[in-house]
Symmetry: C3
Amino acid sequence: MEVPVSSAEITTAIDTIWVLLTAFLVFFMQPGFAMLTAGLTRAKNVGNILMKNLMDFCMSSLGYWAVGFALMYGVGNFFLGGSFFFLRDIAEETSGVPTLAFWLFQLVFAGTAATIVAGAMAERTRFRAYLIYSLVLSAVIYPIVGHWVWGGGWLGELGFLDFAGSTVVHGVGGWAGLMGAVILGPRLGKYRDDGSPNAIPGHSLPLAMLGMFVLWFGWFGFNPGSTLSGMQAGLIAKVAVNTNLAAAAGAIVAMLVAWLRTGKPDVGLSMNGALAGLVAITAPCAFVSPLSSIIIGAVGGVVVVYGVSFLDRVRVDDPVGAVPVHAFSGLWGTLAVGLFHETSGLFYGGGWGQLGVQSLGVVAVFAWTALTAGTLFVIIKYAIGLRVSREEEKMGLDYGEHAVNSYPDFGVTSLG
Amino acid sequence: MEVPVSSAEITTAIDTIWVLLTAFLVFFMQPGFAMLTAGLTRAKNVGNILMKNLMDFCMSSLGYWAVGFALMYGVGNFFLGGSFFFLRDIAEETSGVPTLAFWLFQLVFAGTAATIVAGAMAERTRFRAYLIYSLVLSAVIYPIVGHWVWGGGWLGELGFLDFAGSTVVHGVGGWAGLMGAVILGPRLGKYRDDGSPNAIPGHSLPLAMLGMFVLWFGWFGFNPGSTLSGMQAGLIAKVAVNTNLAAAAGAIVAMLVAWLRTGKPDVGLSMNGALAGLVAITAPCAFVSPLSSIIIGAVGGVVVVYGVSFLDRVRVDDPVGAVPVHAFSGLWGTLAVGLFHETSGLFYGGGWGQLGVQSLGVVAVFAWTALTAGTLFVIIKYAIGLRVSREEEKMGLDYGEHAVNSYPDFGVTSLG
Amino acid sequence: MEVPVSSAEITTAIDTIWVLLTAFLVFFMQPGFAMLTAGLTRAKNVGNILMKNLMDFCMSSLGYWAVGFALMYGVGNFFLGGSFFFLRDIAEETSGVPTLAFWLFQLVFAGTAATIVAGAMAERTRFRAYLIYSLVLSAVIYPIVGHWVWGGGWLGELGFLDFAGSTVVHGVGGWAGLMGAVILGPRLGKYRDDGSPNAIPGHSLPLAMLGMFVLWFGWFGFNPGSTLSGMQAGLIAKVAVNTNLAAAAGAIVAMLVAWLRTGKPDVGLSMNGALAGLVAITAPCAFVSPLSSIIIGAVGGVVVVYGVSFLDRVRVDDPVGAVPVHAFSGLWGTLAVGLFHETSGLFYGGGWGQLGVQSLGVVAVFAWTALTAGTLFVIIKYAIGLRVSREEEKMGLDYGEHAVNSYPDFGVTSLG
């Protein structure tokens, strides 16, 4: 005596499973970022950077529950939303899945934006400053951009396309990181008196590589999950394939460019090339062909190598390359929608319209993030202090901020 | 010429995919525990602890195949089951999925219970003693508790609620670990003559943090997968969100409590706070609101900080905090069902009944586990020896038990 | 006003979700191999081995897009396929899922075959040689074997059964690794003048164990995903259970055999025992019972212990045991289909026919791989050089090939 199940129940189940499982994958990017950032920084700061990675996601979880989701998806105006604070009075379903499933998927995106900044500001930022910043970013700064593009706001209305967040997520995180790195200033010893950079190598290449691979894995949730539906078989397959091809192309091209420039295939730049490819394809993955994805990822690989050099030339110290990977390559990927979109892209006879809207979007998000994050960092700087003391920076933030030695059984040579 | 597919076939497929994919996530908690425990112990014992983590899951796999599943889900009485040994004569389906899928999901839970003990007994337990113990726990001690609650036994009949195993899994593992730690006694050098504890820091904070994040990730299988059905979209979304919020609240509150007590935001306690939040929400996740989940997780964060101090005061040496995280916070979470259950909870006008049954359940499971695991450890102690020799403990169990150096390329300072 | 969804749309969605999610799991085996291989080699070569693991997957991605898929699944003859180069003119669906989803699943298998070789040839292979080799293997050598068995070619036609690739994937990777290890010769210092082997321990047991667990996790995609359909609930449950039981049995038996031979339960051999169990069950997992799976995995555990000794006796230096795990145990697992297949197996009254076809298949794939990979390595050797210089090998490939120190904050003792 079987109870018949309606096709609506079935598609809701399929969509919910898909959204939740991909949300779990995006959550898993948190240890990806943690291992990548820890591996690319020094052993004396590793406990601090791990703790920041943990706590920014925790702060994001509560902040996005209380405020962030309301500003992003609440009923509001062109600029921000204004209902559903503390998940109150939410609809049972949103986009065809239970609203709580939708919320979790959106939360892990907010957490990603927050965590990107940790890398750019690593090895010198006060822990309590970081806690405040990450809460504000995930609860206010990011959700408002999200509202503009995905929550019914003005950029989405204009036709701005950012499928999974090259600009919404990676741009916001990357530009905020740039503002933070500029306001903090470089780490002690990063630049010589003549302005030339000292390499400060990360303490563990295996951790960094593990983090990179975990991020790539998580991106299979980030991009394909952004369909928000498991029923669109063709689309999610295309998004998954495009994501992978762009990452591969980004890594290969970054390796080749670095090889030509320095005579060696650089491991760190190759890893960042893969990530740059992933960031670049995040906006266009649903709208472009596999071949276009390879080109987009490859250009991302070029962008990251030159972006790292550029930051060094202007003496902005970004220890892990977060700004080139997320901000610069995210910018490129967002514009690439205007070039490679299979109907509205310039290269496909779609004219300049899409490219124009994409340009407007990246400028607007850059302006908003630079303004708000910059203001926030300056307020923190003068209110409680943004940067640790010189003594603490020399001894390491692990000791100064947390009274911990991350590797007590090893003779760590970077300890002050 | 399409062959029509019945809705029963479709829902079976959806449920099976869900159960298997979440089982895979729960399996992945094995390296989570391995990395967490390895990171929180010394470099001279790391190969041993990793080997224990590997082999307990292997022993569980065969033990749960031969005996455990039969005792837990076999046809039996109020106390234990008694059919399906060696997976013989099993039904084609159980709970709407192929019995083998159901079995795998149950196995990874048994493996989790077994592996929890490794942490509490780390750095001094003989390897062959550990092999025996983990087989008995996963094949007999745990399955009988499982039968009481989930397999048709007396606790379930009384209305005891433990959705995903705060008591069934984490309680059994945690209380067994407590018995083991008590019977073993503390590690050499852990307590001074005046009884005050010496901190023995773990050798790698990055490994520990990686393990914590992997466990959090795996918990998205542990709790949402315990619906055993992918068709209950609303429920699995709620469980996933509650799980995440409790973890975040546990970490934040543990950090704040430690900060107030010691002046520093402690990394290890924050990690354990997240895990305590996860353990606490495991029983109630399907029955409570997101706000309640935050409270339950937050209290878990308090429990773990004071639990660690308490164990040190009574000189029980639990190197990784497994007892506070799994036993104490699991106890709290199980009782919390009686407080926060949206219909039967005390705070929701449900009266004292649910809380009473929950209390009975935790007492019964504590008594059973303490009695059986305690007896087992004492038998092992006198039959083959539970603890390694003083010399071996000083030199490290890696050398003594496995003739291996886990880090031969580094000058490890903890080596004897 | 619900739009009715056809059952074909639903089953396509379920199958696509299943194929993609399991493909993501198989992708995740890449960091599994990376961590395993890095952990089992020396600190001075770890950046190089990680870079190889990254780049072989990137090269595979582009190579399998351009050529590999066409040779494997293109319309062709008994020997190879010949359409779909660069994913051009592909059908909308293949095996009931979007062709791009099918492609991604096949790509991650090709990437697995390619990455296996890195281990056998570790610590002495030139990076640029590796790049060329991994492209040719994933774009030509592997796809042609794949065509024979899975793409409509002659071995599949004869009834050769290899469900998820004990021979197609692990055999090709393992035999190619053997040819590479033979042609390269042993690492400096591996064999004494009297021919007895020097142990060269890997630099990090935790990394290796993490890699092993990640591989086991990924295998839940590798084998169950090879159904290519989420609708076959009973089959995927059986495959998942068999996979897990074989791994557990392999680890336990390898541990016991090593224990009997050396007096200690060896960590590295136990890990390789689990992997050998996984490789062995990969071919038969869909055709055999759980009990047979335990036997097949257990024999895999024996094979790997004796296989490691055998290679040392013939002075073939395989730093991580890739050949015993993938080639020898893959050979065993493929033959085991002929013994344990529930209808056509010798032990089930099916006669010698299946075993004969299985034997023919493993011989053919060995011959093809030995010939083509051997030729490739010899060409590379004389054209650009297969092995680094003695000086570079002593200093470490990290410095020589990439100008990097993977652990700059630690005093690494293996550095030249």
